[in-house]
Amino acid sequence: MALTTAPDRTGRAGPAGPRRTRRGAGRARLGEGLAGYVFLSPWLIGLMGVTAIPMLLSLWLSFTDYDILTPLAEVRWVGLANYERMFTGDPSYWHAVRVTLTFALVAVPLKLAAALGVALLLNRAWRGVGLFRGLFYLPSLLGGSVALAIVWVNMFNRDGAFNSFLALFGIEGLPWVSDPDWALETLMVLAVWQFGAPMVIFLAGLKQVPAELYEAAAVDGAGTWRRFRAVTLPMLSPVIFFNLVLETIHGFQGFTAAFVLSNGTGGPVDSTLMYTLKLYISGFTDLEMGYASAMAWVFLVAIALITAVFFSTGRFWVHYSDGEEDR
């Protein structure tokens, strides 16, 4: 398209008639711009309809008493009441915050460590390594699926496969998923087990580390651990940073497994009441969608802040080697 319109436009833009030319050019430009927007429209409509407008709507709702059943036109503006209640009047909100932080603080580092560890093993050139890469990635392909959560619950209940396995060694297992002291831990294990996605990214990062750095380090007498500390980790730090940010956000948003394990209640005794689950219960079970919207916005701001903290501390430990080489 550009090919056909462009010469046309330059042809008209001669010195002969400046006024006419400008208008003509404008029309052509408008046509071109419009075409651009038309081509963009699938994405644009999606963005507006599915993301932007609902988001703004939920921001507005967070200041109202919207209860889902009442038509939008009849909701009442309640100012900051929802936010006030969240911070001062709802102990279970803070409980949900604690559960979510505990989950993220334990599951995310463990998941990254597992991903890095397996990536290091799979980075060697041995026979059949491709098969293992595929196998380790498999759990992540299943993603946050409901089916997987159901399997997990059945594996870790009192008569589940895990306890049968323990019984082989004469250990009597616990009813992991229905014990309030262990239900969240069971979910953490599920999250850690799905380390495939960060592992693949680590693996790609490891491939980028120049072999001559290891050779040089080895010549200087560095052992395996020293090479890992002084070469691998710094060279990998941008990838670690990327995975850390992504997995943290992912960890905070955990919902499906907690929902399935607890039948949507956050039980036993609120032990799996993740933030998103609390939000869901408030909105859809207790019919307090205004309150749930307020929770969603606080959640968004909190995640943005945490990400900002990562970015601001990143410059102390993330090394972008190519930039340094240029200087």
């Binding site: 090919l3 407008i53 005794v269």
Partner: protein, 446 residues
């Protein structure tokens, strides 16, 4: 991104300051369209209200339940279509879990069903927000006939003076026990009228003899708590307030702490499993306890999940604390375009002899007493016969119906479960758990 683009489409001078204008105008226009579109659609939908009930009508119906209920309901609706060919149905059904989430979402999304099933746990939530149509005028004009219903039964559908739902059936609390297990060990069966202490002592004996815990611990179960409260002269609600105090809750929790300490109940994690509302997870059918606390009309469904023979009696204590409860209602959406048809369908499902015979006792005993007698006479399915028998026996001892649970009840229910489980797992004393529960209730219904 064609390579030829960049050299030839060099930016002419005038372009830079005009494009943003165009773009801005365009975006503004787009936003206007995006905002206007739902309005226009909404207006179109409103316009339909005037259309009346002439011509073909497609009525959307939504209920929860299993395959068996779906089959019966579909047959009954097909019968209606046969008699009224202009009316067809768009049927949607699903399991009880998640049903009310879905109903709320459909309502919010502007796509609510014309006719839907609801129970007393949510009736006030919906009626209090004017989502349900007030059926009083239809009742008064005779378009909706409740004259053959027990008075207390149809009145159990009245919220704030409005008839918000029509009882689709009647049920009551039922204590279901594993008869096969008891007979195998030569143990006595529980009877209606046993005291709570006798029930617990009996359960302890069962546990000792059979190694199966004698009773599920119902301290997290609002319907058991409710019956117990009524036997103490209290109630779950009193107007818009709670009908009980922290002391009552403490006593209730202590009663069951005693039972757990005596080994009459399963361990807390098993109790937790049994607290799910899912029929297939009730401990009496999974074999993890000898008794479960259910609704009497759930008997046939429970039977499908076990090979053992089951029996059912009233909850312990004075059975007059139980009442003729509307097991579930049919309600009409206030904004429905086909109100008259929807009301007529309800009338058909509850008063037409053929339809009632088709539906049987799946939703509880038929609300229409004449037809209830007929269904009882002709019932052949043993499970159905048994539940009719038990419910008819209990019906003679029923007391006054309580008021329909108020707005916020669903939260009161989940808070009771939480507090009771806290006590069961030993994370709080009965008194502490009771305090937590009361505090949470106050914020839920306040």
């Amino acid at each position: 991104m064609h390579p030829a683009t960049s050299p030839t489409a060099g930016v002419p001078a005038g372009r830079n300051h005009r494009t943003p204008l165009t773009r801005r105008r365009f975006v503004r226009g787009l936003a206007a369209v995006a905002l206007a579109a739902p309005l226009a659609l909404g207006a179109a939908a409103c316009g339909g209200d005037e259309a009346g009930d002439d011509g073909p009508v497609k009525l959307s119906v939504f209920w929860w339940g299993g395959d068996a209920r779906a089959k019966l309901t579909e047959d009954a609706l097909a019968l209606y279509t046969k008699k009224h060919p202009e009316v067809t149905f768009e049927k949607t059904w699903q399991a009880n879990q998640g049903y009310f989430d879905k109903l709320a979402t459909l309502t919010a999304g502007g796509n609510p069903p014309d006719l839907f099933q609801i129970d007393d746990n949510y009736l006030a939530e919906y009626a209090g927000r004017s989502t349900t149509l007030d059926l009083t005028s239809f009742k008064d004009s005779g378009k909706l006939d409740v004259s053959k219903f027990p008075k207390s039964l149809w009145q159990y559908g009245v919220v704030d003076g409005k008839l918000a739902g029509v009882a689709a059936g009647e049920n009551t609390q039922g204590l279901v026990y594993n008869r096969t297990l008891l007979q195998k060990h030569g143990l006595p069966e529980p009877t209606t009228g046993m005291t709570w202490e006798q029930h617990i002592a009996w359960a302890e004996q069962v546990a000792k003899k059979t190694k199966v815990p004698g009773t599920q611990d119902p301290s997290a179960d609002y319907k058991a708590f409710w019956v117990w409260l009524r036997q103490q002269g209290k109630d779950l609600y009193n107007g818009t307030e709670l009908g009980f105090t922290a002391d009552d809750v403490t006593k209730w929790f202590e009663l069951w702490k005693g039972a757990r300490d005596r080994g009459a109940t399963p361990t807390p994690d098993v109790i937790h499993e049994g607290n799910a509302t899912d029929i297939t997870k009730q401990l009496v059918v999974t074999g993890k306890a000898a008794t479960s606390w259910v609704w009497a009309n759930q008997m046939p469904d429970l039977k499908k999940n076990t090979k053992d023979e089951l029996g059912v009696v009233a909850y312990p204590g004075d059975p007059s604390a139980q009442w003729a409860r509307a097991s579930m209602y049919w309600s009409v959406l206030k904004g429905s375009k086909h109100r008259d048809v929807a009301v007529d369908v309800i009338n058909f499902l509850t008063n037409d002899p053929e339809a009632v015979a088709l539906l049987g006792t799946d939703r509880g005993l038929p609300s229409n007493l004449d037809l209830r007698a007929k269904v009882s006479e002709t019932a052949t399915d043993p499970a159905m016969k048994q539940s009719i028998q038990v419910e008819s026996d209990l019906a003679q001892k029923f007391g006054e119906s309580p008021q329909v649970p108020i707005k916020g009840h669903s939260k009161v229910r989940s808070e009771l479960t939480k507090a009771a489980e806290n006590a069961q797992y030993g994370r709080a004393t009965p008194a502490q758990a009771a305090e937590q529960f009361l505090a949470a209730c106050k914020s839920a219904i306040g």
